[in-house]
C-alpha cells in the first residue's frame, strides 16, 4: 500500500481488529464450552471441551522486548506447528495453540532450540512482569530488562519445573510509579531513588507549572520559592521520601543518582481471590545496590526468599499466605533478613499496620 493511498483515506477510531479474526477454528467451535484442563508436563496445557475436542497450548518464555525478527520467527513456528495461531499471555509469554497432540513434542523441541524455554505453568515461576528501565524511561532508578534477565537466569529451573508450593509471581518496576504493578506480587523488585530531587532553578520556572509541582508531593515537601530572582520551588529535604512524583510533573527536578539509586525487595502480595483475598506486597529488603550487568545482590536475595519459601511453605500456599501462617518475625528469622526502622510504615495509614493485639508468638530464646 503506497503512502499516498493511505493519506487519501485517513481512518481514525477504528479500534483494534476484532479478536474473532484471530481465533483458531477449534476455539471458535468450542468457545465457552471448555470442560476442564490438565497440565501433562511443564509448559503444556490441555483443554478438553464438552464436545470432546482437545486444545494443546504450549507456553514459551519471551524477554518481552522482542525484535521483529523474533516475531517473524514465532509466526513461522506457528505456521509450521499450529496452523498459524498463537497468542501472548498477560505475563508476556507466548503460547502456541495446537490441535494435534503429535505436534506438541516437536514444537517444544523447536522452541527450546531457538532459545525460548517452555514452562511457566502451574506452581512455578513464570515470566517477570516488568517495565522499561534504562531502555526507554526517563524515571528509571535501575534498568528493568537487565535485572529481569539476571534474575531469570538464576531462577530458570523454577520456570521449567513445577516444584513450588504455589504459583510465584515476580514483578519488577523501575520507579515508584510501578508500571509493573509490583504492589501485589509474591516477590516485587522495585527500583528506588534515595535522594531528594536536584532542582534546576534556571529552567524550572519555564518548564514547570509551579502549583501542580507543589501539589504533586504526597508529603507536602515542596514550596514555591524565588531563587536567584527566578520563580522556582524549594524542597524541605527532611520531608522528602524520594517518590519522584515531582519529577513526573516537572522535568527540572531530577531524581536519578548513580550512587544512591538501587533496588528494594517486597514480598507476599497476590492478586487472585483464591483462598486468601488479594494482598499488597510488603517490604522485605529496603535497599540493595545497583550493580549492573548482573545485580548479584538482588538475584541472591530473591533466590534466597524463593528457596526458603519452597522449603517451608505448605502445598498451595502462596508466599503471602505462608508468611501469614508463620508470622513475620519467623519470616525474617528464616530468611536472615534484618528488620529495620524502614519496615515500619510511616505514611497516612501507618497506624493501621500496627499490631493492635497481644496475640504474639513468644519464644524463650529471645
Amino acid at each position: 500500500m503506497s503512502a499516498d493511498v493511505v493519506k487519501a483515506k485517513r481512518k481514525t477510531d477504528i479500534g483494534p481488529p476484532n479478536y474473532t479474526k484471530f481465533l483458531p477454528p477449534i476455539i471458535k467451535e468450542n468457545y465457552g464450552k471448555w470442560k476442564y484442563h490438565e497440565v501433562p508436563q511443564p509448559g503444556v496445557l490441555v483443554h478438553t471441551s464438552h464436545s470432546g475436542a482437545k486444545l494443546y497450548s504450549v507456553r514459551a518464555a519471551t524477554p518481552r522486548l522482542l525484535s521483529i525478527e523474533t516475531l517473524r520467527l514465532f509466526a513461522s513456528i506457528a505456521d509450521e506447528f499450529t496452523g498459524g495461531f498463537l497468542r501472548f499471555t498477560s505475563r508476556n509469554n507466548v503460547e502456541f495453540l495446537a490441535t494435534d497432540e503429535g505436534k506438541v513434542a516437536p514444537l517444544i523441541a523447536r522452541l527450546k532450540k531457538e532459545g525460548y524455554p517452555v514452562g511457566g505453568i502451574g506452581p512455578s515461576i513464570t515470566n517477570i512482569v516488568h517495565t522499561q528501565g534504562w531502555v526507554h524511561c526517563h524515571s528509571a532508578a535501575s534498568d528493568a530488562s537487565g535485572v529481569v534477565k539476571a534474575l531469570m537466569d538464576e531462577l530458570y529451573p523454577r520456570f521449567e519445573n513445577m516444584d513450588l508450593p504455589g504459583k510465584t509471581r515476580i514483578a519488577f518496576a523501575c520507579c515508584l510509579n510501578m508500571c509493573g504493578a509490583v504492589h501485589c506480587s509474591d516477590i516485587a523488585v522495585l527500583a528506588v531513588h534515595r535522594k531528594p530531587p536536584k532542582i534546576n532553578h534556571a529552567t524550572l520556572g519555564k518548564t514547570c507549572e509551579i502549583p501542580s509541582t507543589v501539589a504533586a508531593c504526597p508529603t507536602g515537601a515542596i514550596r514555591p520559592a524565588t531563587v536567584d530572582g527566578k520563580q522556582s520551588v524549594e524542597v524541605i529535604e527532611e520531608q522528602c521520601m524520594f517518590c519522584g512524583n515531582c519529577f513526573t510533573v516537572c522535568p527540572s527536578m531530577t531524581m536519578a543518582d548513580p550512587e544512591n539509586d538501587g533496588i528494594s525487595i517486597w514480598v507476599g502480595g497476590k492478586v487472585s481471590n483464591a483462598r486468601h483475598e488479594p494482598m499488597f506486597s510488603k517490604l522485605a529488603i529496603p535497599y540493595l545496590p545497583n550493580n549492573p550487568p548482573r545485580w548479584p545482590e538482588v538475584t541472591a536475595a530473591v533466590k534466597n526468599i524463593v528457596d526458603v519459601y519452597a522449603k517451608n511453605a505448605r502445598k498451595f500456599e502462596r508466599i503471602g499466605e505462608w508468611i501469614e501462617r508463620i508470622g513475620w518475625p519467623k519470616f525474617f528469622k528464616l530468611t536472615g533478613i534484618e528488620f529495620t526502622k524502614y519496615h515500619l510504615d510511616d505514611f497516612t495509614h501507618a497506624g493501621e499496620s500496627f499490631k493492635r493485639s497481644a496475640q504474639l508468638r513468644h519464644s524463650s530464646e529471645g
Partner: protein, 390 residues
C-alpha cells in the same frame, strides 16, 4: 547481525545464560541505526548506573491526544539516532490472539518506520512499538489503520482495556471477557484517543476470581466473573481425585477453603454454597470435578491504582453481581454516570479510586444512583463521625 558501532561489554554479558536475552533481541534489530545508538546509550547507562532519557514532549498523530510516548535522549550529540526515540502504543486484539499473518503485518509496518523493537506487550496490554522519530508517526498511523489496527491510550484518557483469554480457552470464564473488552474498547474510542479526564482510567476484565489480568490491582474498573448459584459437582470425578491420591481432599481442598464450607467425609464432597465466597480454590485444584455454577455474571470493582500519590489501592466492590450480557447497557450507564461525576469534580491527576475516598463512598453512590450495600465494605464504619442529613 550488523557490526556494532559501540563496544558493549556489560550488555554482552547479558547475552549469556538460559533465559532469552533482551540484548540478543536488541542486536537482532541492530541493522537500524537507531538501535545501534540505543545499544551505545544503554551501555552508557550500565556503566554510569543512570538513565539517559529526558522527559517527553507532546508528540502524537493528528487528532489524537494519546497513543504515543515522546522520548528524547539527554546525549543527542553522542547518540544522534536516538535523540528522538518515541514509543507507539498499538491497541492489541482482545486476549492477545494473533495469526501469523497479522503478526507479520505489524512487523512489516514497524520495519519500515521504526527501530524494529517491540514489547509484546506493555503492562497495560498494548503492543508497544519501541523507538521511532516524530516524522514517522503519521505514516505509521496510516499504515496501521489501513491494516485494521489503531492506537491505544496514554495520558488522561481511557486506557487500552485488556482481558484474560476467558471463554476462548478457559473452562471457568463466567462471562465473555473478550467480547466485553472489545465492546468497551470500540464503544469508547473517543475517550481512548482524546484525553478529557482528570487522569487515566483503566478497564480490565477477568473471567473468574482467579483474575488472570490482575484487574483488581491494576484497573480503575475491574470486572471479575463470578456466579450466584451452587458449584457444580461431578461426584464420580471427585471419587477419581480421591482414588488418584495426589490430592488430600480433606486437607488440600476443604482445609484451604477460606470460609471452611466444604464437607468431605472421605467419599462425598458437600458444599454450603450460601457461605461459599467464590474464591475458586476448590475448583482450581479439582478442575475435572468441580466447576462454577450456572447462574453466572460478574462483580464490578472500582479504583485500583499504583501508589502515587496517596498510596496504592486495590479495587473495591461497586456492583456485587451483574449478569453482564450484551449490549452491556447497564454497565455503560454506570460508566457514564461515574465518568460524568469524576470529570466534573475530580482534581487534576486524581484517579477515581482516590476521588471516591475524597468525596466519600456514600456520596459517590448517591451521585451515580447506586444503593449502598454491605457487600461493598469489609465491615460498617467503626468511627462515629457520621454526617447525618436531617
Amino acid at each position: 547481525m550488523t557490526d556494532k558501532k559501540y563496544p558493549t561489554p556489560l550488555l554482552d554479558d547479558l547475552e549469556k545464560g538460559p533465559w532469552p536475552s533482551f540484548v540478543k533481541e536488541i542486536k537482532k534489530s541492530a541493522k537500524s541505526p537507531m538501535v545501534q545508538d540505543l545499544l551505545g546509550l544503554l551501555e552508557r547507562s550500565y556503566e554510569e548506573k543512570i538513565g539517559h532519557w529526558k522527559h517527553g514532549g507532546l508528540v502524537g498523530v493528528q487528532g489524537y491526544g494519546g497513543g504515543v510516548i515522546g522520548r528524547y535522549s539527554d546525549l543527542p550529540a553522542e547518540f544522534p539516532d536516538v535523540s528522538e526515540f518515541h514509543t507507539i502504543r498499538v491497541n492489541q486484539p482482545s486476549g492477545w490472539f494473533y495469526t501469523s499473518d497479522a503478526l507479520r503485518t505489524l512487523c512489516d509496518i514497524w520495519d519500515r518506520h521504526g527501530s524494529g523493537l517491540t514489547n509484546m506487550h506493555g503492562s497495560t496490554g498494548d503492543i508497544v512499538f519501541l523507538g521511532t522519530k516524530t516524522t514517522e508517526l503519521e505514516p505509521i498511523f496510516s499504515e496501521l489503520t489501513a491494516a485494521g489496527f489503531d492506537l491505544g491510550g496514554s495520558g488522561s484518557d481511557m486506557r487500552t482495556p485488556s482481558c484474560c483469554n476467558g471463554m476462548a480457552r478457559c473452562e471457568w470464564a463466567c462471562y465473555d471477557t473478550m467480547a466485553f473488552c472489545n465492546d468497551v474498547t470500540q464503544t469508547y474510542q473517543d475517550e481512548l484517543h482524546r484525553p478529557a479526564f482528570p487522569y487515566k482510567f483503566k478497564i480490565k476484565a477477568s473471567g473468574c476470581p482467579n483474575d488472570c489480568v490482575a484487574s483488581i490491582a491494576r484497573s480503575d474498573m475491574s470486572v471479575i466473573g463470578t456466579w450466584r448459584d451452587d458449584i457444580q459437582i461431578d461426584p464420580a470425578a471427585v471419587k477419581e481425585y480421591a482414588l488418584a491420591g495426589k490430592l488430600d481432599i480433606g486437607k488440600d481442598v476443604a482445609g484451604r477453603c477460606p470460609t471452611k464450607v466444604i464437607d468431605w467425609d472421605g467419599t462425598t464432597l458437600a458444599i454450603d454454597n450460601s457461605n461459599c465466597v467464590k474464591c475458586m480454590h476448590c475448583i482450581n485444584v479439582m478442575p475435572k470435578a468441580l466447576s462454577p455454577g450456572k447462574d453466572r455474571g460478574a462483580t464490578i470493582l472500582i479504583g485500583a491504582k499504583a501508589p502515587i500519590v496517596q498510596g496504592a489501592l486495590l479495587a473495591s466492590v461497586l456492583v456485587p453481581f451483574i449478569k453482564l450480557e450484551q449490549p452491556y447497557e447497564d454497565v455503560k450507564e454506570l460508566i457514564a454516570a461515574m465518568w460524568d461525576l469524576w470529570a466534573e469534580h475530580g482534581k487534576n491527576r486524581e484517579r477515581i479510586g482516590e476521588f471516591i475516598q475524597r468525596i466519600g463512598l456514600g456520596n459517590f453512590l448517591e451521585q451515580i444512583g447506586l444503593d449502598p450495600a454491605p457487600e461493598m465494605v469489609i465491615q460498617p464504619r467503626t468511627n462515629p463521625y457520621i454526617f447525618y442529613n436531617l
